[in-house]
Each structure stands twice: as C-alpha cells, then as structure tokens.
C-alpha cells in the first residue's frame, strides 16, 4: 500500500506532523537519519508557549522535560562587569508552563515514541538521498537504490534542508543567513544547580547574555538550567566569525571565564559539546513553502524568531508541523496533492502565530546587525552602573550626570535616539 505521507526528519516539526496525521488515520512514515530521534539534534535549551501541550495533553505527566522556566534573565557584559535584569512571576510556575528547558536527545526520542504510539511508522537510521519525481510532481523519496513512493512528502529536515533545495524551493544557505550555536552541557549534582541559582523543585532559569562574550559580533551567550546540568553556550553570526577570523569555541571559553559565569561552573564536569546552525533572517529567507507533492516545515522553512529579547523556534516547528498535517489531511480528502491543493498550508500558517510573528519581527535581523548592541551599549550601561553603585568617599553626582559621563566618547544622545527608533520598529 502506498503511503499517504513521508515525513523526513523526526524533530519537533516532523513528529508533530506525523502524530497529527496518524491520529487522523492516514498512512504515515517518519524517517530519521539518526540512530534514534534526537541523536543529531541540539539547541540552546527552552521551549516556549502552548504548541506542545496542545498537541500532547499528557506532556507534563510524561515528557522528559528538565525544568520549567521560573526566571527569565538578561545580562549585559563587559570584560569583568555584568548588569542584569530578571523577571519572575508565580504565573510562570503554574501549569501550563510558559516555558521549560529540555535536552533534545531525550525529548525528541520521547516525542518520536509518542508519534509511533499514535500509529505512524517511525524509521530511524534511515537516509533520504533524494526526492522521487513523477514529472514535475514530488512522488516520494529515494534512499540508496530504494524508492519509497508517497502521495506527499513533508520536509522537516532542518536548517540545512537538502530536500527544500532539491525541490527547487530555495537556494543554497548563506553564512549571513545563519547563526552558529555551540554549547556545553556541564553536569552538576542536582542540589548544586538549585543552590547556585536559588531554585526549588523543578524551577529553572533561562538566561541570555549580550556584550563582550561575542567580542562585538552579533550574537550572545546563554545559560539554561537542566535538572542535573547547565547548558552553556554562544550563538554568533556565521559570516561574522569567518570574516573576523574568530572561532565560536574560543568565544565560548571566554564566556565561561567571565567572572559572573565562571563561579557558577566551578566543580562542573563537561558532559557534551555540540553545535548547530540557526536560520535567522525569518521571512526574508523563507523558502516557498509547498510545491506539487511537497511541504516544508520547521527550521527547514526558517521558522525561527530571534529578536535578542525573544528566541523561539521549536514552538514554530511544532505549529508548522501541525499546520502541514492539516493541509495534508485536507488534500487527502480531495484526493489532490497538487500545489494548488496544498496551498492551504500557507493560509493555515498565516492564520496562526507562525507567519504572524515572523511578519511582526521581519525587521529584527536588520536591527540586530547594529554593532553598538554588542559593544557600545553593554559597556555604557555597565560603566554607568559602576559609577552609580561605587561609593568611594568622593562627593556623589546625580544619575543623569553619571550617565552622560558614561556616554562620553562612546555614543551621542542623538545616536541612541536613532537606535531606539530603529528598535521600536523591529523588536
């Protein structure tokens, strides 16, 4: 029997799509090149929003999640100093959680098992080399000498999506379109994580850093708390790395040695070093989302928003996987998997937060190219804070005067006003 759908990639997009289609009674196969789902996947650390718990109501009882995000923190760094803002609310500690940390190798494996339970075939260690064509229509996938026909293929094969390229929906990725993320998982006893971060139970922290940790390059650092480990990493624009001749791992080592970070890592044991690319131009790099017999979802479709303040992608992956499933189910009813019939996928995404958010933050990546965000401004506010909080027996000055002193030689009020105006329309 021919499959209704082959989904390539058992990440959040692929599993969400497979789960929904299997639930709707379609014959669906999810193929994954890793030895198990999650074997090739890494990320920073936190999932936000209700997309997953809407898909899987049993999420909180069953899923191998690490900690819920009870505290959201943003820090500006200079070489030695650190100025932080932190937001906490009891609301973040209540079900359904606003955000939670998880480790992809464990979580994606669970998600794939749920997809299988729902009735999909999940084939791991399965390589897709190419698309199977019937004239101009995608008619399945090829794996070595094997051909696997299906009414529709859903490409959830990640940021490097070879399938979207082979289908002619997008060109080659460019270094300016991606950030490179590198991460260490550093193991600690559970009590140490909780003591160091002042956490009780399953509370966790999502912590972003901007400033010297990227030596002025667009990007930032992060720390996410897991149950018995910290995820510590750097995300940085790939074109900036290669043009400046800087290695991401050197930035990560700098970041780990910053006084604010270093004291948290004392006694930790490295458990894993990982890396991944993140598509960062959002709608400006989005491929065509469908063609005859093929849909694209998740990172493969560049469904990620990164504004410096918000960094989300996995919830977009899940929501786009669900939308793709809906489009495939409708196409199945009509018995028509042509591009015209699958066009409802784009409409479904337009109605959901996926394309709405991507449109809202369309300008974010241009704003985030501004080098002052990574150099001048963190230095300015840290210098200001140092002047404000230092008590050295000298007559004190008013805050405004200290701010003007901190600005001296760095940036004009006019320039700040212009940058703020640009930020207003972007993030």
């Amino acid at each position: 029997m021919e499959l209704d759908a082959i989904i390539v990639g058992a990440g959040p997009a692929g599993c969400a799509c497979g789960y929904k289609l299997a639930q709707a009674g379609l014959e669906v196969m999810v193929v994954e090149r890793g030895k198990f789902a999650g074997a090739k996947n890494m990320w920073g650390g936190a999932f936000y929003g209700p997309a997953l718990s809407e898909l899987l109501p049993s999420l909180w009882e069953e899923a191998p999640v690490e900690r819920y995000v009870a505290c959201q923190r943003l820090s500006l760094l200079t070489d030695e100093n650190c100025l932080s803002i932190e937001f906490t609310t009891p609301r973040f500690s209540q079900l359904p959680y606003n955000g939670f940390t998880l480790l992809r190798s464990k979580f994606d494996r669970w998600l794939a098992a749920k997809t299988e339970e729902a009735g999909a075939i999940v084939a791991t260690g399965f390589e897709v080399d190419d698309l199977l064509w019937d004239g101009n229509r995608v008619a399945g996938v090829k794996s070595g000498s094997d051909e696997l026909p299906a009414s529709v293929v859903v490409a959830c094969d990640g940021v490097n999506s070879i399938l979207a390229q082979k289908a002619g929906l997008r060109g080659e990725l460019k270094p300016s379109e991606v950030k490179q993320g590198v991460k260490e998982v550093i193991a600690f006893p559970r009590e140490t994580v909780e003591q160091c971060f002042g956490l009780t139970g399953d509370e966790g922290v999502a912590w972003e850093f901007v400033g010297t940790c990227t030596r002025g390059l667009p990007g930032g650092g992060f720390i996410y708390t897991n149950k018995e480990s910290l995820s510590v990493g750097i995300v940085v624009q790939l074109n900036a790395l290669i043009e400046q001749g800087i290695k991401a791992n050197d930035l990560l080592e700098d970041f780990k040695s910053h006084p604010t970070v270093a004291k948290l890592l004392d006694g930790g044991k490295l458990a894993e070093y990982s890396a991944h690319l993140i598509p960062v131009l959002g709608i400006d790099m989005m491929p065509r989302l469908y063609t005859d017999g093929l849909l694209v979802a998740g990172d493969a479709a560049a469904f990620v928003i990164g504004t410096g303040l918000i960094l989300e992608g996995a919830n977009f992956a899940v929501a786009s996987g669900v939308a793709a499933a809906e489009a495939v189910a409708r196409a199945k009813k009509k018995g028509d998997f042509s591009a015209k019939s699958l066009a409802c996928y784009q409409e479904l995404l337009e109605q959901s937060f996926v394309l709405k958010d991507l449109k809202t933050f369309r300008q974010a990546h241009r704003f985030l190219e501004n080098p002052r965000i990574y150099g001048t401004y963190p230095k300015l506010v840290c210098d200001f804070a140092e002047k404000l909080f230092t008590s050295n027996g000298q007559p004190k000055k008013r805050a405004w005067q200290l701010l003007r002193e901190a600005m001296k030689g760095k940036v004009s009020l006019w320039r700040i006003a212009r940058d703020l105006m640009q930020g207003k329309g972007a993030v």
């Binding site: 074997a39 260690g125 990725l173 590198v182 790939l238 800087i246 791992n249 490295l270 890396a275 690319l277």
Partner: protein, 92 residues
C-alpha cells in the same frame, strides 16, 4: 572550570565513526585559497592549517553544515555520514 581544549571536548562526545569519510576537501582548491573560512566556520575545529596546507579530519564533525556554506571556493564536498554513523548526542 579550567579551560578545555577542543580535542578534550570532542573526546567526551559519543560518535560512531564510519570508515567512509563523509566530507572530502579538494586540496588543489585549498592551495589557492587565502581566506581559509573553514578554519573559523567549523565549531569542532576539524580543519587545521599546517605548513600552508589545509588538513581535515572528519572524526570530530558535529554535522552542523557550517563548513559547507562557509567555503566560497567549492572545495568542500559535504554529504551526511551514513545512517547510524557520526555524532550521536546523548544530551543535545
């Protein structure tokens, strides 16, 4: 935590290393390149410059795809490792 070398970092990772090399470089092209973007693009530092030659070792590859898009000379022939081989994240 003391600084950790990239070799020591990769040594804690779990890999199933294939005898087939999944990334090949065109040394003749590398000889004519002076940008050497690969050196900075690869987060696992699989590319090294030794006496003017680019030396590549595929074993530590994290399969992120950075080198593939960073090399503007077309010197990197990048395919994914065979199924079941390559990096196998235990945390991710």
């Amino acid at each position: 935590m003391n600084p950790i070398s990239i070799e020591d970092k990769l040594a804690v990772n779990k890999y199933d290393i294939d005898k087939d090399i999944h990334i090949k470089i065109r040394e003749d092209i590398c000889q004519t390149c002076d940008g050497h973007y690969c050196l900075y693009a690869c987060p696992a530092e699989c590319f090294r410059l030794e006496e003017g030659r680019i030396i590549f070792s595929y074993e530590g590859c994290l399969e992120c795809g950075s080198c593939r898009i960073a090399c503007d000379r077309g010197a990197i022939d990048w395919i994914l490792p065979r199924p079941g081989f390559g990096i196998c994240y235990e945390y991710g």
